[in-house]
Amino acid sequence: MASGLVQLKTTDAGERVVILSGDWTLAALRSSLRKSFKALKAVAGDPMLKWDLRQINAMDSTGALLIWRAWGGDRRGSSLLKADHAAILERVAAVPPVEVARWRSDLLAPIVFLGRSESRFFENVLAIVTLVGMLVLDAIYLLTHPRQVPWREISATIYKAGALALPVTALVGFLIGVVISYLTADTLKAYGAGIYIVNLLGISIIRELGPLLVAILVAGRSGSAMTAQIGVMRVTEEIDAMITMGISPIPRLVLPKVIGMAVAMPLVSIWAIAAALLGGALAAKAQLGISVIYFLGSLPKAVALDNIWIAGVKTLSFGMAIALISCHFGLRTKPNTESVSNSITTSVVAAITVVILLDAVFAIMFRNVGFD
């Protein structure tokens, strides 16, 4: 395949003619694009030249575009060419010239951005409050119509967000227990207070680390899955289909997730707390020589029972918050795939932020409870 050739010849009649030959196609010109265009430009400057395009073997829109550009967007009336190639050139000529909008810098852009994000934040808060209201109404309705409670969906949520999360939460909990025990053992030993590792681990893990850890794991694991599920249902118009069938999506999709998470989260976090304490106890045995039996035996004395209740209340509200936020961003997804990935990102970030905010609120509320 010979790529496009440009030749300048003088005919017997003394006329100077530009002869184009070879293949004027993208495939053939790809490597010699600039060279061919330069060669064209060099001869196109002279308006008196005749053009002979009949020897062109194959032409496609790239080739035609190059020739057209070399001509400066103006037909050379006296040019000779094949009918098919004329049609291709004709099509190139038919494209209206476009003015490409210049990108202009906008000095106010940061302020506009700030305002937009703020109003979006309030929009989200408002929408979540509305969602909570609808859920409460649905819950009251279901209390009076217990036959319509979506048990199957609730149990599916408990299984997916709870049972399936057990291995990973146990592993992470165990490792965190080991790490904290290991890091504090030396300091405690230096003060001769090695025995207090039980208090330290007991309070910090049960009250704070266990619930928070599980909440962050579940927000990343199940929260993203919920947003993705509802978001994809929006993209594929499944939610619209549900509505037309008279199934309202909030009690069927959102409510079971919120209830399921409220049930599953405390259970998962008790499990993770147990794993973390076990890890801590094993590390304490290795570092400080405190036996596991002694560790477990002195736990009830070191940690007031109230701490367990606090952990339960915290994880329950974390679970509901994660489910609510994930479903909210799922429902807000616009019906296109790009929007799904944005929703999931925002949803996970928002869920984790809200969990930590709630944690702070609980820390202030219960600051006098559980320490004796």
Binding site: A27, L33, D84, A87, V92, V95, P96, V98, N336, T337
Partner: protein, 252 residues
């Protein structure tokens, strides 16, 4: 033309334990516009995917421009992929890219084309499919179904392919757009010898556009030839497919 553009011999494909095609032979020569018809679930799209090298056949040989699109050497495979353009049933536009960038992507992937040339080529392709320049900056999510299809066609044409593979090209287009689509493909085929392999249900498009129709049923090509001849066939599927619909007269 010595070498067929598409050459399928003894093809057998399976999906989920079920055999879809059995000993299927098909040949498409350069410059032909071939329409593949068949009932739903007869494996039209699967055949199309095997031909362009997206799915592996369970048996038999597939040659695209004389090259096995799946098992050839990397360079050859790549060069084959640049010689055909595919229009997927749902458009398959990249949702993260604007209309302009969707069409520009295959051109940019070639490397070495300058920005202005790419811009002009993209505008040319969009003009071909009757997308106005003001839509070039839009995202695929903002387009109607018919526009998605036309942008996808522009993208399939971006590299000026020798073979155009179309899956239900006119589904979702209004009759007017269908007609201009038919015209566009006709003129491209006339000017550049474009080969077209299309799967379609649209009898109008078939009757105007297709130089040859292949009927897929029972896992093989049961009839193959010009539409007028196909219609005489007594095969039960063909009888029911063409029996109820009267094709429109060809426009003059």
């Amino acid at each position: 033309m010595s070498e067929p553009v598409i050459d399928v011999k003894g093809l057998r494909t399976e999906r989920g334990g079920q055999t879809i095609h059995r000993n299927l032979d098909m040949r498409v020569d350069a410059g032909e516009i071939i329409g593949l018809v068949g009932g739903s679930g007869s494996g039209k799209t699967t055949l199309l995917r095997v031909v362009i090298g997206l799915d592996a056949p369970a048996g038999g040989a597939v040659r695209l421009f004389g090259i096995d699109p799946l098992n050839a050497e990397r360079r050859e495979r790549l060069s084959v992929r640049r010689r055909f353009g595919t229009l997927f049933q749902a458009g398959a536009l990249f949702s993260a890219l604007s209309v302009f960038d969707n069409v520009a992507l295959p051109l940019r992937e070639l490397r070495g084309l300058d920005k202005r040339l790419i811009r002009d080529l993209v505008m040319l392709k969009l003009h071909l499919v009757e997308i106005e320049p003001r839509h070039a900056g839009k995202m695929p999510a903002e387009l109607s179904g018919g526009m998605v299809k036309r942008v996808a066609l522009a993208r399939a044409l971006a590299l000026d392919p020798e073979l155009l593979v179309l899956d239900e090209p006119t589904a979702g287009l209004d009759p007017d757009r269908s007609r201009s689509f038919v015209k566009l493909v006709q003129s491209l085929s006339r000017e550049r010898g474009l080969t077209v392999f299309m799967v379609t249900h649209d009898v109008d498009t078939l009757s105007i556009l297709a130089t040859r129709v292949a009927v897929l049923a029972e896992g093989r090509i049961v009839a193959d030839g010009p539409l007028d001849k196909i219609k005489q066939d007594k095969h039960p599927f063909i009888a029911s497919f063409f029996g109820t619909t009267q094709p429109l007269p060809k426009p003059t």
